[in-house]
Symmetry: C2
Subunit: 359 residues, 2 copies
DNA sequence: CGTTTCGTTCGAATCGATTCGCTAGTCTGC
DNA sequence: GCAGACTAGCGAATCGATTCGAACGAAACG
């Protein structure tokens, strides 16, 4: 409860000697009001220290809260640290400004702590929030309970990536084709022992080498598609799943793959994000491996890692994706129909890939 | 307006053949309800596809929205990219979980675009939002209109840093003493030509060399205090203000200071954050200056910059600060009184400072 | 001078729940 | 068999605004 003593519009109206409805109109501007009346009402408001209509009451009446939820795939720490996510959120905030909406963060709880319960938690947290719309960011989850819940509530949604779903339009890049491009590049350089460092596939906190079933049954679409893009060119290669999209996680996974007999060591690692690739570079450095001499490394996203040589990676327009998602939400709020939007992703050849050396 | 057809609790109650109040109790659990009644109500809810109480209505009645605002000092891109901010926000989210609150982001618009209007914009955006509490993060602004507005509304607030203000308790570190520690370290190493790279002092988009008046009149308390900490030990030294807390901005400012006649070049730069310090290191590298041979560099915050040698800096517990701020908000929401909390900040001697070389 | 028109302001309904005093009805104990 | 203690469920008030048709007085018109 607000500290008592916060004035209401009714008190302002009474003090000004006008009706509640007239007072309301003075502040909403919905109808003309005589100047003298307006002045009296404004004076009354000032006198009572009234600071504008109660947002809850006003929202209830109009059916709009001015809040757009953003569902993040990971705990904030990782979402924020990834310059790509940061760019997406920045673009999103930019576009939402146009509809005077603010962003409510809805992180999915850390998978490793909660296992399969996490969906419940996210839904519970969400169902208490008044949301005009929601952007499902970060990762597309097949069969997402969050989507089911919001769909039932009739809340407009937009997905960033993810599996086809008629309940929400999406902003897409062709993850599979893009990664296939990277794989082709590696194949052309003569790489045969390649491995993939993949995003979490299920948000269940598992990590390590991934079986074929697990990969194909993955709920996190991006994680699956990017791995399959490699398979398309090089056939099935080992896939190691990390527990979070962080540099540390990438470094751990890479160390596991690289700290073996050189004859069996991969000559190239395909990381599903630049942040993970940064971890790979760190691992390589600490193992004394030269990049790209001993090891080629690729990433995904196209962010700049200031300390590293330019990554060979797929560049996708993060800020632009966020902005487009925001504009789609804005249109949905206007009642318009919105379709999937495809965004470009282009291969960038950097300094972290080179010819394979015989092991 | 929600797409029509979204059921209401009244319809559920009617279908179940109970009163509105009983149906409400079934979902809130505020009173015991016979099992058979409960079952009928739940069945009715399922049948109608009712997805829980309308958050707006429920919030209005209880006077709580479950939303805590987070006022950021910069546009999202910079706030997120700074690992220190990310840690603060992460800790904050963590603590707010305990009171089932979500975070609403309220970035102040980019100063450079809006000049002095920015306060209005932030306040306007904020007054439409139903907030149970607000954390003023990122930078403490003296005489902040945002604080004035929220105080008038009676919204509980907590500040991270900032000037003393009886309207809100704060989580503090002694910026001035901490930076003085850095300055003492530099003095002991023989540095005489030192300059400070400071945060924006006014959020007015200005940058460049700062006059004494501007520094003392700074509204951004942290920016002022950290510079004055250096003055306390070394006397007034040049202060260059950046336009944002980003590596790029730090690099620009550093280049300006360093790309001069070696005889006049500073032998040490004190950056007000590690992110800015990272920019300084980048500038030094591109100018061919050795750190710490030709130039000593210090930062603030204690984040890890993966590509750089360990910074000499002040370590402050970011996640912990966020968590404490969240807990303070939680206590305020419970109606408790809350006082300022001081957090430790400790000097860390890294590899970026060394003896001054005669110019 | 009576009637239409125009511009303001008012009343009442509404948004969708929560809360709590009260009334039936049931159970206990003597 | 009846007074007193308990229960489950009901009604009505309430949270604080927005909205829109109706009413009212004044001005314009014939």
């Amino acid at each position: 409860m607000r500290p008592a003593g916060q004035a209401t519009l009714k008190q302002v109206a009474d003090l000004a000697g006008v009706s509640l409805s007239t007072a309301s109109v003075v502040f909403s501007g919905a109808r003309p009001v005589t100047e003298s009346t307006r002045d009296r009402v404004l004076a009354a408001a000032t006198e009572l220290g009234w600071s504008g209509p109660n947002p809850l009451a006003s929202s209830l009446r109009r059916g709009r809260s001015g809040v757009v939820g953003v569902v993040l795939s990971e705990r904030l720490l990782y979402s924020f640290r990834d310059p790509y996510s940061a760019a997406v959120l920045d673009g999103l905030a930019d576009a939402l400004d146009a509809s005077a909406s603010s962003m409510l963060l809805l992180p999915r709880p850390p998978a490793s702590l909660l296992g399969l319960e996490h969906d419940q938690t996210t839904v519970a947290r969400m169902s208490g929030a008044a949301l005009d719309g929601v952007v499902i960011a970060g990762c597309g989850l097949a069969d997402d309970p969050v989507v089911t819940h919001l769909h039932a509530r009739g809340v407009p949604m937009v997905g960033l990536g993810g599996a086809p779903d008629e309940r929400l339009p999406r902003v897409l890049v062709d993850d599979r084709a893009a990664t296939a491009g990277l794989a082709r590049h590696l194949r052309d350089l003569g790489h045969e022992r390649v491995a993939v460092i993949a995003f979490p596939l299920q948000l269940d906190g598992a990590q390590g080498l991934v079986s074929a079933e697990r990969l194909h049954g993955a709920r996190v679409t991006e994680a699956r598609e990017r791995a399959l893009g490699v398979f398309d060119v090089l056939g099935p290669v080992p896939v190691v799943e990390v527990v979070a999209n962080s540099q540390t996680a990438g470094e751990q996974a890479a160390r596991r793959l690289l700290d073996v007999d050189p004859a069996r060591r991969p000559t190239a690692l395909v990381a599903e994000s630049d942040v993970l690739a940064a971890g790979v570079l760190a691992a390589a450095a600490s193992l004394g491996l030269d990049v790209p001499g001993d090891l080629s490394v690729t990433g995904f996203d196209g962010v700049t890692i200031p300390w590293a040589p330019e990554l060979t990676t797929v560049v996708q327009p993060g800020a632009e994706k966020g902005r487009v998602a925001g504009e789609m939400i804005n249109r949905l709020l206007e009642g318009e129909q919105v379709d999937d939007v495809a965004m470009p992703a282009t291969l960038r050849l950097g300094a972290t890939t080179g010819p394979a050396t015989r092991g």
